[in-house]
Symmetry: C2
Subunit: 388 residues, 2 copies
C-alpha cells in the first residue's frame, strides 16, 4: 500500500486529522509522510483544515481532503440507472435515479448518463469530476474498461465504456461488474466493514458473487471470478439459457422465481398470488416475498427451495474458501429471513464445521444502495491510487 | 514484500549474483538494497562469492546464500515419512524415507523424525538447522503450529508440533497441512512455476486442495480453506465418514476406489482385478491404474466415474475462482490420463467459458516429491522472512 493511498483513504474514511495522528495511524517514517502530504497539498488534493482545539489547548493543524473534490458513481442495472455525486469523503452531494433499459444499447444508455451528469453540473453540484466509477450488470474486463460477452446486454460487447465516459467528462473512469461494485460498497460502509475475506452474493435477474480476499476485490485470471450462476445444482434440473442443465440460475433467480410463481398462481394453492396476477398481469419477486410473509404456503415453499439451492452452492464455496462472512444482496434478498434461514441451514449442515464456526451469513445492509455506494468507492480508489 | 525477503529468494532461486544485478531485478533504491545486503552479510546469511568474469573482464563481486545454511523438510503422510536436508538454495543434501504409521501418535512419530534428523547430523550433513518445514496429513492451525481435529490422526489434536520440534532442534519450525505444502512445492519447482492463482488438488486417502492467490498460500479465515473432500456430489450417494451424504471423498478417494475395485473383483467383469486380489489379498489404486492402462473396462469405468465426480466439484470452483491453473496430485493421480481426460471434459463443459479459455488442467510434475519439496520451501520462507 502506498503512503499516498494510505493517507487519502484515512482522510476519506475518518475526516480531517492532524499530521501527528496520521503519522501514528499509518506507521510510516514521519519524513516520508510529511513529504507525501506536501505533494498532496501542492496538487490541491488535500487542504489545511485549521487548528482543532482540545481542552482549550491549540493542537497541531489538521488536513483534510479538498472539499471541492467530486466523484460520480453510476449504478447501471438492467432496468434502472442510479447516479450519485459525492465529495472526496464519499458523502452524497446529489443523486438521481430513473428507469433505463440496458437493452437499448451503450450509446443510448451512456448518452443518458452523460445528460444526467451535465444536468447535475448545471445545478451546481460540481464544477468538474475527479473520477467516475460505474458498475455494469455483466462480465467486465476491469483492465480494459469494457464489458465482455455480457449475456443480457445486446450491443455492449467490448464497447469502450471507460474511454467514452473519460473523453466526455475529462476524468479517469473505472468500470467493473455490478457484483464487484456492490461488494466494495458493502465492505466500505455496509455490514462487511472491516471484513477481509468476503463473499457477497447478488440474487437478482441472475446470480453472481463478489469475492474480496485480504480486503481487495479478487477478480481471477480472466477477470470472471464469482460467476457462480451456472454451477450445477440439479443434474435433472431444467435447461438453462447457457445450454447446460440444472444451473443455479435456472433453479433460482428473479426470473425463475416469477415463472414458478405465475405457474403456481394458475393452480389452487395460492389465492394470494392468483389475486396479484389477476390485478397486475404478471408477478414479481416482491409479490412472492409479500405472500410468503403473509404465510402463503406455496410462496414459502418457493423461497425455501431457492434458499436450499443457493445454500447448496455456497456450502461448497465455504468449504473451499473459508470466508469470514457471506452477505446476501440483490432484489431477491427482499425475500429476507425465510430465504436466509433455509440457506444458512444448508451451509451450516453441509460445510466443513471449522469453516462455519464463526461464519456470519447476513443480508446486505445497504440493500438497493450497495451498487451506487460501491461505484463511489471504486471512483475514489482510482483517484487515490489504490487497486480496488 | 520486504527487501530482505526479495533478496534472499532471488539468491535462493537464481544462485550467486552481483549487487548490480540484484538491484536491477528488485527495483529498490540501491542504497536500501546495499544496506540490507550489508546486514545479511554481517549476520552470515549471505556471503561474498568472488568475482565472476565475463569475456575476460572482471565484473562486480557476487554474493550468495551462505553455503552452510541447512533446512530440514519433513513430509508426513498417513503411512510414511520423508525427510530431506537442503542447503539454502533448496538443493538436496541428504534424504531419507521410511514407513511410518501416523496413527501411532505424535510422540512416537515426531520422536522418530528427531532420530532421523540426529542420524543425518551424525553423518555430517549439517551442524545445525536454520529452519524446519513440516507437512501433516490433516487440518493445521498455521499460526499456532498445531493440528486441529485431524480426522485420521488419533492423539494429534492440538499437539504442539511446532514447539516440540523447535525445542528439540533449536531452530524455527513451520507446520502446515500436506496439501498447502505440496502446492508450495509444485509452485516453486514443479509444473506451476510462475503461476499466481492456482488450485492444487490432492487425491489420496482423502481429497483436499491447496489454493494460491497472488503467489501466496490462501488459508482462509479459520485456516481450513481448500477442504473440498466433503462437498456433495450426489444427493443420493453413500453416507460419508463425516456423517453427511454423497461427499466427494465418499464417491472417490483411494479408499472408495479400492472398495469399488474389490467389489468388482468379486464379479465376472474384471479378471485382472480378480487375479490381483487373489494374489495379494487386497487391491490398491495402483492395481486399478494398471488394469485400466491394460484396457480393463471395469477399471476404466471406475476411473472415469471418479474423474467425473472430481470434475463436477472443480467445475464449480473454476467458475467461482477463475484460477490460472489446476494441478492434480496425490497417489490417485497415478490413474493418469484417463482420470485427467474425464475430469477435464466435465470442467470444460460445465464451467463458465471465460474461465476455461486459457486454463491448463495438468498432473503434478513433482508427484510423490511435491510434499517434501514444499516442506523445504516452507522452511526457507520462514527463514527468509516471507509469508508462505
Amino acid at each position: 500500500m502506498s503512503v499516498r493511498y494510505g493517507l487519502l483513504t484515512l482522510l476519506r474514511d475518518h475526516g480531517p486529522q492532524s499530521r501527528a495522528r496520521l503519522a501514528d495511524r499509518l506507521q510510516v517514517p514521519r519524513q516520508r509522510l510529511l513529504a507525501e502530504l506536501d505533494r498532496l497539498v501542492a496538487s490541491g488534493t488535500v487542504v489545511e483544515a485549521g487548528h482543532p482545539t482540545s481542552r482549550g489547548r491549540r493542537r497541531s493543524p489538521c488536513v483534510q481532503i479538498n472539499p471541492c473534490l467530486r466523484f460520480a458513481a453510476v449504478d447501471l442495472d438492467t432496468r434502472s440507472v442510479g447516479v450519485e455525486i459525492t465529495d472526496g469523503r464519499l458523502r452524497v452531494v446529489a443523486s438521481h435515479q430513473e428507469h433505463c433499459d440496458i437493452r437499448t444499447g451503450p450509446v443510448k444508455v451512456l448518452g443518458r448518463v452523460t445528460q444526467i451528469l451535465h444536468a447535475m453540473r448545471a445545478e451546481g453540484h460540481f464544477a468538474r469530476l475527479d473520477a467516475i466509477g460505474i458498475g455494469l450488470p455483466g462480465p467486465v474486463s476491469f483492465r480494459e474498461g469494457v464489458p465482455v460477452c455480457p449475456p443480457i446486454m445486446p450491443g455492449w460487447d467490448r464497447y469502450p465504456v471507460r474511454d467514452v465516459l473519460a473523453d466526455e467528462h475529462g476524468c479517469p473512469v473505472a468500470v467493473d461488474n455490478d457484483v464487484n461494485v456492490m461488494t466494495l460498497g458493502e465492505r466500505h460502509s455496509g455490514v462487511a466493514r472491516t471484513v477481509d475475506d468476503l463473499i457477497f452474493v447478488k440474487i437478482g435477474s441472475g446470480i453472481g458473487c463478489g469475492v474480496q480476499i485480504d480486503g481487495r476485490v479478487y477478480r481471477g485470471a480472466a477477470g470472471c471470478a464469482g460467476d457462480i450462476g451456472h454451477i450445477q445444482v440439479d443434474a435433472d434440473g431444467p435447461v438453462c439459457s447457457c445450454g447446460n442443465v440444472g444451473c443455479l440460475e435456472a433453479a433460482f433467480s428473479q426470473e425463475a422465481l416469477t415463472r414458478h410463481a405465475e405457474s403456481a398462481a394458475g393452480g389452487d394453492g395460492s389465492p394470494l398470488l392468483a389475486e396479484r396476477l389477476a390485478a397486475n398481469g404478471s408477478l414479481t419477486a416482491r409479490d412472492v416475498a409479500d405472500a410468503a410473509a403473509a404465510g402463503d404456503a406455496v410462496c414459502i415453499g418457493l423461497v425455501r427451495d431457492g434458499g436450499r439451492r443457493v445454500g447448496q452452492v455456497l456450502a461448497g464455496l465455504v468449504s473451499f474458501m473459508n470466508p469470514s462472512m457471506i452477505v446476501i444482496g440483490g432484489d431477491v434478498a427482499d425475500l429476507g429471513h425465510i430465504l436466509l434461514a433455509e440457506l444458512r441451514s444448508v451451509v451450516y449442515q453441509r460445510s466443513v464445521p471449522l469453516a462455519t464456526g464463526d461464519l456470519p451469513i447476513v443480508l446486505s445492509e445497504l440493500r438497493g444502495r450497495a451498487g451506487v455506494v460501491g461505484a463511489a468507492v471504486l471512483a475514489s480508489e482510482l483517484a487515490y491510487g489504490g487497486a480496488a
